[in-house]
Amino acid sequence: MPSPLRLRTRLTVWYVSVLAVLLLLYAALVFAFQYAVLTRQMLHDEVQDIVTAEGLLYFDHHGILELQQNYYSRPQSHLLVDRLMEVLDLSGRVLYQSSNLHGMPLGGRLQDGEGQTGFNERIVRLQDGTHALIVSHIHAINGTTMVIRLGYSLVPLRERMLQFLILLLIAAPMALVVAGAAGQVIARRGLRPLEKMAAHAEGITASNLDDRLQIDNPNDELGQMARAFNHLLERLEQAFQQMRRFTADAAHELRTPLASIRTMSEVALEQSPSKLQYNDALANILEETARLNETIDGLLLLARAETSQPGLEQIDFPVRELVDEALSVLSVLTEEKQITIVQENDSPGNWIVRADRVLLRVAFMNVLHNAVKFSPRNSVLRISWTHRNGNVRIAFQDQGPGIAPEEREKVFERFFTGRTPATVSGTGAGLGLSIARLIVDRAGGHIWFEPVQSGARCVMEFPGGAPTFQT
């Protein structure tokens, strides 16, 4: 089912969708990378900090662990430090706690071997629900071994990341809207020649088939399409012309016997002739109706061969048999004219051809009948068989008057009759060879007259192969 959207819109939708996916992917990657970098930085600061803090811890004269505050160059500087710190002895008793923890434990009970190797970095949840990234380290002062825990709250980091995310989520749709609008405009501009072509093509009918699409750039896709369309128009125009000529020719061919029937009847009725003359007129009329009938049968056969689906009635059969069959039907004529038939075969084989056998028989009959008709008495009709590149080629060469070079193609036209009475093609109506050509074409083959020194050489070629024996 075709999409109801216009091509332009579809192109834009596709383009915007792909862009959206890419943007999301990009945002996710940037976000993750940023988060990882900031976390690492924080960890790095904490490790440095914990080493500094170790040097600042001391027991006062009451035996209470304190942090030296004189480390800061200015008194207000320590307000800027938002480090969370807790010191525990190995039994888990809290020795020191930074004031910004407000009595909340930092990390709870001691873990096994906490701070002994590495820094045990981890995220812990404080009692107020916020999270902190903490590191631990073991340290000894005055013979007391203690675990120092130090961390920073993750709240500011997460707030910053959230802001970053919101910014991305606002910016991406805006970018998509802009891209979509631009895409629409670009697509419309790109497809405008197509609209022009369609409007132009709408105006082409049977009466102005000579009209052609204008090609701006023959190398781009639209130019190629216009060229293809123009070629189609050209073939159509030719077919139309051929059909018109054919209709005119057919009317002429049908009218000629009708005219003589009419005249003969009128003359016979006017003259009140003798019985013998009447009989003569009637016999003439009958002969003319036979001619009419033959033309109509030929036209029907052409129509049948033209409209039948190729492949529908096609069967595999040995083509040599069919030619022999046609020759045997025509044998009375060849014997009568004492024509010698010579068959030459470059390799012994009964080649198999795929075609509508009944129709192909008509084609062979027409070609052979023609050859026999134009052969002089006591002449030779040479039939040579060759098989090359998967094609069976049959050449029929007679010793008749031959065909003028300029008529070699024309003899296949419907109702063509040569300029000299001796080269009238086909039987009576001049349909024989055009029927043969249509049939051979339908079987996927070719038929043509080859230039030869004397006589005519009709060549037929079909795709065909060696016989396959099936059990």
Binding site: N279, D280, L282, A283, N284, I285, L286, E287, T289, A290, N293, E294, D297, G298, L300, L301, R304, V329, L330, V332, L333, E336, V358, L359, R361, V362, M365, N366, H369, G426, T427, L431, G432, I435
Partner: protein, 232 residues
């Protein structure tokens, strides 16, 4: 002696119908003609014909419909379809519907008479004997030999077939179309064999007629050929 066979024609073209009636009557049959399906049915039940010549393109009612009704009623009548729609498919449809034979327009009248005869012979007469005689010409169908005035004739297979066909249709004219179809077995109508037939007839004539004073094989101009004893 048996009554003359009765034939009913259902054909809407008056001229065609008139010509058929006079031609078939002249050949020795009782003929009735109807121009419409209703008239045809009336005459069919009234006269009980042996054979019905049925045109397929009738006003109001298609000939195939009529045929279907005749067959469903179980009326005992042979049916020969005459039509200008004579493609292979039309033929098959006609014969499937219950026609006994099918003849495409335009046909030669000789062929129509031959078909009528063949259809009626199937019910009225036993098959022809194995020997055929026309004047002093004799044909032996079993041995496929022919002789004239006691002298054996040397005929090719095709010549014998041709002579046999002419002999079976003796005293009647045989058209080239009939010969092409029945002797040469050409299925396609656009095959150039008319002069093959003419030459073959000429050769046959040379063998069976030329040496003898009485000529049996006659050319009927515009129609075809006929094998008959000339009337004194």
């Amino acid at each position: 002696m048996a009554a003359r066979p009765k034939i009913l024609i259902i054909e809407d073209d008056r001229r065609m119908s008139d010509a058929l009636v006079s031609g078939i009557e002249a050949a020795g049959y009782d003929v009735n003609a109807a121009g419409t399906a209703e008239e045809g049915f009336f005459l069919l039940h009234q006269c009980h014909p042996d054979l019905l010549l049925l045109d397929l393109t009738l006003p109001q009612r298609n000939g195939l419909d009529i045929l279907r009704q005749i067959r469903s009623e179980g009326t005992d009548v042979r049916v020969l379809i005459l039509t200008s729609h004579n493609t292979v498919e039309d033929r098959v449809t006609g014969l499937r519907t219950g026609a006994d034979d099918f003849l495409g327009k335009p046909f030669s009248f000789a062929e129509l008479l031959a078909r009528i005869d063949a259809l009626l012979r199937r019910i009225l007469q036993p098959p022809a004997s194995t020997n055929l005689t026309i004047g002093d010409l004799t044909l032996e169908t079993k041995t496929r030999t022919a002789a004239r005035a006691g002298e054996p004739l040397e005929l090719t297979a095709r010549e014998f077939d041709l002579l046999l066909y002419l002999a079976e249709n003796r005293d009647r004219t045989v058209s080239r179309e009939m010969l092409a179809k029945d002797v040469w077995r050409e299925t396609s109508r656009y095959t150039p064999i008319d002069n093959v037939i003419d030459v073959q007839i000429a050769r046959l004539r040379k063998k069976i007629d030329d040496p003898y004073p009485i000529k049996l094989l006659q050319t009927v101009r515009g129609i075809g050929f006929s094998l008959r004893e000339p009337q004194p």
